[in-house]
Symmetry: C2
């Protein structure tokens, strides 16, 4: 592995361009007001300064990386990779409505630009396109594989939606256990990462036991990804992380560090944390700093890291047991280290 520590391995990032160009070509075939919203969201606008595909395309890149890591032809797996990336994006458009987020990847969200009603349509359209992309881009000589991928992707999409249902239920409840939280994340975040590894394995003709281990790796990496995301939402550097760092606290999000702190045995620091965090109205800068300090004192900063490391170690255990090519195993380890330590 020749990449700098703390960055994404080139064997993963190199697939982003393939996904972007196939997706832009595919979406470019359609016109009208629905597709105008969809192309805007994806970054494929019909204008000279077209920004290009938005986001890291992590899920599709990992899918192609996995297929290649078993000696498969990554090009064969482009149809499900495009499909998976579109499923992720359909969920983002609907998430932005549900969270009333006006910014997405530094640009106005579809919700902010066209309103919630039309954003529902835009997300619905992306979901339909995700299924069609799989069918339209697939090799028509292999309908069985297409049907299998459709089924696998559909089930993971449902797991993700179930996680979103639970997430919205949890925000209404003051007390959330670590188990509740992890159960929600298993759907909301882990489902599509499991899909990356699962389908990458299928398209490289991996055997059943290997696919089961790949699914486990995807799940554990999903936890690592989300726990670090929650950590950055509190202790990340504003400029690095690219979104308002204190907004998670300001919105009183039940992120992992908060849930971790809340399940500790009661003491004065926890009471003080509760009093500030569960108060109404905006938190002052002083209160935000105090909340961060209290979470740190309550062990949540270190605890979140420890949990992420625990999941990463479970992922590496599975990784040791599968017959993936050496370069791929090595780069997947680098990817895990990146997820654990990323600053943005």
């Amino acid at each position: 592995m020749t990449d700098a520590p703390g960055s994404l391995p080139e064997t993963i990032t190199k697939h982003r361009e393939t996904v972007a160009s196939r997706m832009e070509d595919y979406l470019g075939r359609r016109d009208g007001p629905l597709y105008e919203m969809i192309k805007y969201h994806m970054g494929f606008e019909d204008r000279p300064d077209n920004p290009g595909l938005q986001g890291k395309a992590l899920r599709s890149s990992l899918l192609l990386f996995t297929a290649e890591g078993f000696g498969g032809d990554p090009l064969r797996a482009v149809p499900p990779a495009v499909s998976l990336e579109l499923i992720h994006n359909f969920s983002l458009v609907h998430d932005d409505i549900q969270d009333d987020d006006t910014l997405r990847r530094g640009r106005k969200s579809v919700h902010a630009k066209w309103g919630a009603k039309q954003a529902i349509n835009a997300g619905d359209g992306i979901r339909d396109l995700s299924t069609l992309a799989l069918v339209d881009l697939a090799n028509s000589n292999d309908p069985e594989l297409t049907v299998r991928a459709t089924e696998v992707l559909g089930n993971y999409s449902l797991e993700m939606i179930s996680g979103q249902v639970k997430d919205l239920q949890l925000t209404d409840r003051a007390e959330i256990s670590v188990d509740d939280y992890l159960d929600m994340i298993e759907g909301k975040t882990c489902a599509l990462l499991r899909a990356s590894f699962h389908i990458g394995g299928i398209y490289a003709d991996a055997d059943e036991e290997t696919v089961a281990r790949l699914k486990a790796i995807g799940k554990y990496l999903g936890y690592v990804f989300q726990l670090r995301d929650d950590w950055l939402g509190i202790w990340g550097e504003q400029e690095e992380f690219g979104k308002s760092v204190d907004s998670d606290l300001q919105e009183r999000k039940r992120s992992f560090p908060v849930v971790y702190a809340l399940q500790r045995s009661p003491d004065e620091r926890l009471s003080e944390f509760r009093d500030i965090y569960f108060s109404n109205g905006d938190l002052s800068d002083g209160e935000i700093d105090r909340v961060k300090k209290l979470l740190d004192d309550l062990g949540a900063r270190e605890g979140t890291n420890d949990w992420a490391k625990k999941y990463w170690s479970q992922a590496t255990e599975e990784l040791e047991k599968i017959d993936m090519e050496d370069w791929a195993k090595s780069d997947l380890k680098a990817f895990g280290e990146y997820l654990l330590t990323r600053e943005r």
Copy 2:
């Protein structure tokens, strides 16, 4: 045809029970808060007074009727029929959010019961289940047919969503031409009825020319259905139609009769209609009555019927040219007459 005039032929309605039982069985395999909302919407609740499948299941019934009408085995076409019915229902759940409708088929809408955010998830879940039902219920020996149906249904779903995008755009504009209106309805209403006939034809191995004619029949029947729906929204009897008849006028909907009246050459009656209809605030009972009278005087009542009849005659022209079994042709004609004259 042994049915009473003005009712749905038994050869169409008989399929509803098949669809209902397969769908209830399929959805019954899943549990959790997402599926609780979905089962509620469909009418498949886990309680003794389970109301059973909601709605007429018209689209799926027509699909199975069409397959049978070409001598095909309707049971073979159950998977796409269930899928199509679920697509229709996903659109209803999201429509109710967009229109802020609190009632659906006489029961609280998902939107009213769980709020808009969760109703987005419920609709998303139904759409995923629609794709999975096709795959899971299909004969695994025929993956090509499953892929084809997935593609056809996905494209019609996108047409429907495009129509919904246009509908929301139109409600923001005072002046809408008849062409704008028909273009919107072609997506919003006609798309899934075209799917019924198109896929019914495919599953009965109809040839390409026949499938093209079936698609046209579906489109024309979609117009007939919608024009009568709009007519009933103004001149239907409250008790018969089952929803508040005057709400279309009260909400200043740009339904076909209104659009028809607005495109007439200006005269005093049209000016008076405009003054009342485009005023702000609630319309009094007297104003509602006056608006109805003006629309009638402007020819909109008769004109809407005439347009519906025109589309029905185009449908029958296509019907004459296809090689459908006699009983099916005859019952399809009865169905068209029913759509033209129905009171609810």
